[in-house]
Structure formats: structure tokens, C-alpha cells
């Protein structure tokens, strides 16, 4: 516990530090994958990432500020390179055996967390087939709509947004084929843009997105701004731990080929403590947290309290 608060304190301290410091937090990444990690270090959120140490020998890719230049229409929390990466494989969103297979496998597990927390928060009957009836939910970073569609089937009025035009196109075509999901409103935009339109939602959900975002604090602030005063926010991501490096990067991308190489950038991952802290600064107080664990024998994911790799948090808007 003491160590955890120390960690939190350090991060808080780091995030407020106006002067760059050598980045020492992930030596493993630097050792194993200098090319990837250095490129990614530079793109880490402004809140936590310090610029790369001068000693790094790698060629300098376009960094965080460069990204912003490439997307003049959208606010800074967007990472243009990530958008391009997902556009390239957008066609395969609904291919269960394709690049998004791990996400499909994980989907029921993360949805069951969303379902149980939202049912509790909004006092809905968890044994009913459409418990989200009457709730306005936004899926931020909806991709091909693999979360938006289930939410719509569960009765919610769903808005799905994604920065990649291609994703939105795929999502629209797919959703139109089922009357239950054809009411989903898909918009190619960012959370920041929506905030400008002063939109509010009962629940703001952004799963497996924050690790692809350039400015996490700005992103969380936008999520908070989209959340109605009594609403809820759900975010899931991958922990920055030794285990997550071994499983989410080495195993999933390089050994098992579950994910296209370069899908994730370890240094960009947030620890649960960091996420809680960022959310707090965005005036969202985390109420519940759970981890997902994968059982390689059964090939199934399940919820657990082990947050060392994948984890999900549920928060409500705190009054500041």
C-alpha cells in the first residue's frame, strides 16, 4: 500500500515537472525493443511521458507534436499514426478469425463488467434482456462497432465515434444489417469535438482506446465532459507491467501473432494507479476496478482482481 502511494506520488510529481527527466521507468522495453519503445516513448501522453533521453540511438520519428500538425481538424488527444494504423485493417473488424480476434474473444467479458456496473449504477434489472433501455451511451473509439452493437442490443441508445473514417464506414454497414443495431449513430469525430457540441451521455465508455491516445489527460477530461452529471464512465486498457510486456506485446504480437506487430506500445500503457489519478484530475472518481485474465487452456477470458495485464475501471462523475 505504501509502495503504491509512493508510486502515485511519484507520478503526480513527474506529471507536474516542467523539466524533462531521463525516462527510466521501463528499462525492459528499452532493452528488448529499443526501436519500438523509443518511438513510443516520444508519443506518450504529455501528462507522464518525458521526452526521450538524448542518449537514444534511434532515428527520430515524428513525435507527439508532429502528430498534432497532421490533424489540423481535431484536437490534440488524437494520435494520427494510430488512426492510420487502424484504418489499414478496418475491413477485418468483423472477421472473428482476423486481427481483431483477441478483442472479439475478450468482448463478452468486458461487456459483462459494463453490464453489471451500469445495471447497479442506474438501478436496472440485470436479468432483463434489454437493461439499458432508456440510457444514452457513447462508445468513444468504437472501431467497427464491436462494443456499440451489443450495447444497442441491450437496449441503449448508442452513439459510436471514431477518428478513422474507414472504421465508421464499416461500423455503419455492419450495424445496418440488424434492426436492433441500425439505430446506432456513428460519427467520425473525436471526443473533444463532441464536447464542443455540448453533448451529454448517461454513460461514456471507451474500451481499449486510451493506450492509443496521445494526450491521456486531455482525453479523460473530454470523457468527463461528455458524461452527464449523474452518469458513469467506463475505461479499459492494458497495465504497464512486466507481465503485460511479456503477454500483450511479446506473446500476443510476436509469438502468437494474435495482434499485428506494433499494435501496442508498452510505454504508452497506464498503470491502474496512473489511470485512477488521471481520471481524478478529470473529476471522475473510480468506483470499481477489475482485471481480465486469459486462460490459455480453455481459451476464455474472465474477470478477476488481477489487474496486472488487462483491466477495466468504472467511475462516476465526482463533484469538484
Amino acid at each position: 500500500m505504501a509502495r503504491r502511494s509512493l508510486h502515485l506520488f511519484r507520478d503526480l510529481y513527474r506529471s507536474r515537472d516542467p523539466f524533462p527527466k531521463p525516462f527510466l521507468q521501463n528499462p525492459i522495453a528499452t532493452l528488448l525493443h529499443p526501436a519500438i519503445s523509443s518511438a513510443l516513448l516520444q508519443r506518450r501522453s504529455h501528462a507522464f511521458a518525458a521526452p526521450p533521453p538524448p542518449a537514444m540511438q534511434n532515428p527520430k520519428p515524428s513525435n507527439g507534436s508532429g502528430d498534432e500538425n497532421k490533424s489540423p481538424t481535431f484536437h490534440s488527444s488524437l494520435n494520427e499514426a494510430e488512426v492510420a494504423k487502424f484504418s489499414a485493417i478496418a475491413e477485418t473488424w468483423w472477421d472473428f478469425e482476423g486481427p481483431f480476434k483477441p478483442l472479439h474473444l475478450m468482448n463478452p467479458t468486458r461487456i459483462s463488467f459494463v453490464r453489471s456496473t451500469l445495471c447497479r449504477h442506474f438501478k436496472k434489472d440485470p436479468y432483463c434482456a434489454r437493461p439499458f433501455q432508456g440510457l444514452k451511451i457513447i462508445d468513444v473509439g468504437c472501431g467497427g462497432g464491436i462494443l456499440s452493437e451489443p450495447l444497442a442490443r441491450m437496449g441503449a441508445t448508442v452513439t459510436g465515434i471514431d477518428a478513422a473514417e474507414k472504421n465508421i464506414k464499416i461500423a455503419r454497414i455492419h450495424a445496418a444489417s440488424d434492426p436492433l443495431t441500425s439505430s446506432i449513430e456513428y460519427i467520425c469525430t473525436t471526443a473533444e469535438e463532441l464536447v464542443k457540441g455540448n453533448k451529454k451521455f448517461d454513460a461514456v465508455i471507451s474500451l481499449e482506446v486510451i493506450e492509443h491516445v496521445a494526450d491521456t489527460l486531455e482525453f479523460c477530461k473530454s470523457l468527463a465532459a461528455l458524461t452527464a452529471p449523474t452518469g458513469a464512465t467506463v475505461i479499459s486498457t492494458i497495465n504497464r507491467s512486466v507481465r503485460s510486456y511479456a503477454t500483450a506485446i511479446i506473446a500476443a504480437e510476436y509469438l502468437l501473432n494474435w495482434l499485428p506487430k506494433g499494435t501496442h506500445q508498452w510505454s504508452r500503457f497506464l498503470t491502474p494507479e496512473e489511470l485512477v489519478l488521471i481520471l481524478q484530475r478529470a473529476s471522475i472518481s473510480v468506483q470499481e476496478m477489475a482485471g481480465f485474465v486469459y486462460n490459455p487452456l480453455t481459451g476464455e477470458w474472465s474477470l478477476s482482481d488481477d489487474t496486472s495485464v488487462n483491466f477495466i475501471v468504472f467511475g462516476t462523475k465526482g463533484s469538484e
Partner: protein, 537 residues
């Protein structure tokens, strides 16, 4: 888009009127309808739909013919699935279509207990009984004829192998229950009718099944290209909206000219499944070059035990069916089955009594081996009560009271139980040797598992036709079904040879099953369907 939708609505409105007119011509009170005889043909079919419609208030779904799930085959397993779906809170909102040309589906007759029992019976295991209780159908079975049995005697013609199972060995009241198939069907139908559940029964045969082109490969342009089944009179925009609307649905065409759409098609249409064939799901299996002769027989006393004797040609089973009746399932070569089917009643009765008594070999005798085993089991304090029970001769058969039916036996197993939007349950996925009466129990296991998987899918907002969801069902059931099939096939193979050493091996196996209590318990629990694996659990 709006224009297209409104056109669609107008079309539907007209259709509703037309249907209403047709139905108005046949207004018949439901009670009357229930007693309409089965041979009514097309005329009675219409009334079946009328009755269903007025009862379930499913106007919209009937006319648009759009359902969540279409169950093809309204037999025991198909009806059990419908019942299971209607009893789970998460799935009871689903609209279900049942497609079967069997007119009995529309009839609502309460069976008379003093009828002569039908020769088509099922031995339901305690696991199946609890499934029926869960879905609320068991109370209807209880009101009709059924026969519990708490003992089972299995022996073979060599006089070496003999074992006797007692429900007490596993601390249960019964080992199983013999119920006529028509009683099971009727109970499930009654149960389904009591529930507030959106279901439509289509009294017709399936003629074809077609899938729309995949959305992913198709832009909006291909929606029109793939849309050939819509009549040419409609406008283009109408086509498109309809196509988009039905884009993810499977279209089923029926023999009465109707068609319907469903998100998920369940093939519960038996061993010769048409759904399996159209979906292109491959099977493996073989014929046993054996046939089973089934019929109902009468005794002078009531029978409370299930009897099974392995004969050189195959097993013969005598199952209690209530009152002084029993059911015979006798496996033999196809030629012999024809002979036994056509021989006189008296000759058949003689043949049955012969086969269940001294025919083909002696009664099992207590041998030195038995004494040794008994002492062993007493020493290990694992002795079960029935080790002390001695061989009994089954009650004599006095008369054959039903028609004798013969059907060929085979083993068949579908390599995949599911493809996109299609799933197989029951005999459509697997047929087994009837020697332990497990076939229909496996089917009920499928129905129960599929309903639960669908509920899980609904819970997390999955499209119920999604292959990844259906694969979960397949994964769960395949293991269980293959294990049981392998065991039954092994039994069949073990008894298809008559050779000294093999006979001894069989006898040894029988003895271990009789005297090694933990093994015996395992075997009984497994056969009762309460345990997933035969050993080590």
C-alpha cells in the same frame, strides 16, 4: 430511406389485412380445433396457424415472417429447446418459429392413461428429468403415463457377465424413467402453451434455406445485386431497405409456399437433417448392419426394473412403461429383424421369453470369482448393497400389444455442430446405438446447453447467430457427446464377437463393474447423466 420504410409499412399493412381475411374464413374455437383429427391436410394446417396466432398474439412476426430463432423440427429435442428458451429470463423475449409438418404439433390432446402404450419410448435419465423440471415440463409428464425404475439388471448370454444396479447405490430414488415419446412431446407442447412466449408454429416442411451475401464483403451496391428473391414489382429503394433489414437473416422457404426469416436456424430435424445437408456440415459414422425391433408387450405382473441382456446378435432390453406393460428394444441383424417383425404374435412372445431366459446360454451363476470379489469388497468396506443381490429372471412376456417396428441402426456424428447462423441439436448432430437409451438424453443435453449459451449471448448483447457464440455450445456438447458415443460404440463392438478370451475379458469387466463400488458408482452416475465424465470425477 424514410420513403422506403413507409412503403414497407404500407406493404405490411396490406399483408396484415389479407392474412386477417384468410383467417376470418376459418374462425373456429380453439377447443374444437384441438380435437380435429390429424389427417385434416391443408385445411387443418391453416387452422393450426390460426389457433397459434390468436393465442400468442404474434401478428407482426407472423406476417413479416421474421423471427429471432427458427427451430426446424418440432420433435422432442426441438420443443425442449423452445421450452428452455421460454423459461430463461434472458431469452423469453425471443421470437421463436417451430417448423414441422407433423400435424400433431397443433393438436392439444390429453393422453388417456389406459391407452395401450406406444412402442416409441425414451428412457430419460435423472439429468433429463431435472432439465424438464427446470423448464416446467415435468409436471405435465407426471400427469401422463410414465414409469420410474430403480433397478437395472445387465447380463450376457455366456453366463459369465452379470451386474445389477440399484438406485440406492448412488443414494437416489430412481435410475431413470421410461416415457413414451408422444408423452414427452405433448408435455413440452402443453408447457410451451402455458408460457407467455412469442412462438409461431409453421405446419410445413422446409424446402430451401438461403443466406444473404455477407455485409462485410458488400458495399451498399451489392445489396441490390444479392437481392433477387424480392419480387420485381417493388421499387429499388424498397428492395434496398428490405435487404438491409433482412441482410443478416437466413431465409427459409416452406412447402406451403410461405417463407420466413430468422437470425438463427436450429436444425432439430433428426438423423437425416435437411438443415445439416443445406448448411454443408459434414458427418462421420457407420452403419452397424443391425436393426432394432421395438414393440410394447404385456406381463401378468408389474415390472419395475430395466433389463438388458447381451445376445450374440446384439442386446435385448425390456423396459417398464407402466401398468403391466413393458417395452422391448431388440437389436439383431436386418434379416432377423424382418423375420421377427413378420412372425406370429405367439412365436414372437416365445422368442422374447427365450431370449430373456435360457436362450443362447446359461443364467449367470455365482462362481468362486464372485465369492472372492464379494469378500474383497467387504474387506475394503466399499461393498454396495446390490452386490449381495442375485440374478433374477425377468417377468415373462404374455402378449405383444402393439405393432412391431424395425429400424436400421447407425452411428453418426457431425464434424461441426455449427456454422454461421446455423446450429444442430439432437439426432441432427449425432445418432448413437440405442443400447443404453442415451440418444434422446444427449439431445436434451444439447437443447439445455444451447439455450444457456444463447442466454449468455443475449446477456452480453451478442448477435445470436454469431458463429463464435455457437462454437461455445459446440465445444461444450461435442466432448460430452463423443465420450458417450465412444462408450456405446465400444459396448456394441465388444459384443459383436463371440470368442473365448474376449468373453472372459467382458466377464472380468462386468465383475469389476459389479463389485468395485467406486467404479460402479461412477458408472451409474454417468449413465444417469449426472456426471460429465465416466471416470475420475
Amino acid at each position: 430511406m424514410m420513403a422506403a420504410l413507409s412503403t414497407l409499412l404500407v406493404k405490411r399493412g396490406i399483408a396484415r389485412k389479407v392474412v386477417a381475411i384468410i383467417y376470418n374464413l376459418n374462425v373456429i374455437p380453439r377447443r374444437n380445433f384441438c380435437s380435429v383429427d390429424a389427417g385434416g391436410g391443408a385445411h387443418s394446417n391453416l387452422r393450426v396457424e390460426k389457433a397459434q396466432d390468436s393465442e400468442e398474439k404474434v401478428e407482426m412476426t407472423t406476417e413479416s415472417g421474421q423471427h429471432d430463432i427458427a427451430i426446424v423440427g418440432g420433435g422432442m429435442v426441438g420443443l425442449a429447446l423452445a421450452c428452455a428458451l421460454s423459461s430463461i429470463p434472458l431469452t423469453k423475449h425471443l421470437s421463436v418459429a417451430i417448423i414441422d409438418s407433423n400435424p400433431a404439433l397443433g393438436l392439444r390432446t390429453c393422453l388417456m392413461k389406459d391407452d395401450i402404450p406406444d412402442s416409441r419410448v425414451s428412457t430419460v435419465t435423472p439429468a433429463t428429468i431435472s432439465f424438464f423440471k427446470e423448464i416446467g415440463a415435468w409436471e405435465y409428464v407426471k400427469q401422463q403415463r410414465h414409469a420410474f425404475f430403480n433397478q437395472m439388471q445387465v447380463w450376457d448370454y455366456t453366463g459369465l457377465g452379470y451386474t445389477r444396479y440399484n438406485a440406492r447405490d448412488v443414494g437416489k430414488e430412481c435410475l431413470g424413467c421410461v416415457v413414451e415419446n408422444k408423452v414427452l412431446c405433448n408435455s413440452l407442447l402443453l408447457c410451451l402453451q402455458e408460457k407467455d412466449f412469442e412462438k409461431t408454429i409453421y405446419p410445413a416442411r422446409l424446402t430451401s434455406m438461403s443466406f444473404r451475401s455477407k455485409y462485410a464483403s458488400a458495399g451498399t451496391g451489392t445489396y441490390q445485386a444479392s437481392n433477387k428473391s424480392i419480387s420485381s414489382g417493388t421499387t429499388l429503394s424498397d428492395d434496398t431497405s428490405e435487404q438491409i433489414h433482412h441482410g443478416h437473416l437466413v431465409k427459409l422457404d416452406l412447402s406451403n409456399g410461405k417463407s420466413l426469416h430468422a437470425k438463427l436456424v436450429v436444425g432439430a430435424d433428426g438423423a437425416k437433417s435437411r438443415i445439416r445437408e443445406i448448411a454443408g456440415l459434414k458427418t462421420t459414422g457407420w452403419n452397424y448392419s443391425q436393426s432394432a425391433v421395438i414393440c410394447t408387450v404385456e406381463h401378468t405382473v408389474e415390472n419395475h426394473c430395466a433389463w438388458q441382456r447381451f445376445l450374440p446378435s446384439g442386446p435385448i432390453a425390456l423396459l417398464p412403461i407402466g401398468d403391466k406393460f413393458s417395452n422391448i428394444v431388440w437389436t439383431m441383424s436386418p434379416e432377423e429383424s424382418l423375420r421377427h417383425k413378420s412372425m406370429s404374435k405367439d412365436d414372437f412372445v416365445k422368442a422374447v421369453n427365450h431370449a430373456l431366459d435360457y436362450g443362447y446360454g446359461p443364467h449367470p451363476q455365482s462362481s468362486f470369482l464372485d465369492h472372492y470379489m464379494e469378500r474383497f469388497s467387504r474387506v475394503t468396506r466399499h461393498g454396495t448393497l446390490s452386490t449381495a443381490e442375485y440374478f433374477e429372471v425377468p417377468p415373462k412376456v404374455t402378449n405383444v400389444v402393439s405393432e412391431r417396428l424395425a429400424f436400421p441402426l447407425s452411428l453418426m456424428h457431425a464434424r461441426d455442430y455449427a456454422s454461421e447462423q446455423v446450429v444442430l441439436i439432437g439426432d441432427a448432430a449425432h445418432t448413437v446405438h440405442p443400447l443404453a437409451g442415451q440418444g434422446v438424453n444427449l439431445g436434451f443435453g444439447d437443447a439445455s446447453a444451447l439455450a444457456k449459451v444463447i442466454a449468455e449471448g443475449v446477456k452480453v448483447g451478442t448477435n445470436i447467430g454469431e458463429l463464435s457464440l455457437l462454437k461455445q455450445y459446440e465445444k461444450e456438447r461435442k466432448a460430452a457427446n463423443v465420450t458417450m458415443m465412444a462408450i456405446l460404440d465400444g459396448f456394441q463392438k465388444a459384443y459383436s464377437v463371440d470368442l473365448g478370451p474376449i468373453n472372459l475379458l467382458r466377464a472380468a469387466a462386468f465383475h469389476s463393474a459389479q463389485y468395485i463400488a467406486p467404479l460402479k458408482k461412477n458408472i451409474i452416475s454417468y449413465a444417469m447423466g449426472e456426471q460429465k465424465w465416466p471416470l475420475f470425477s
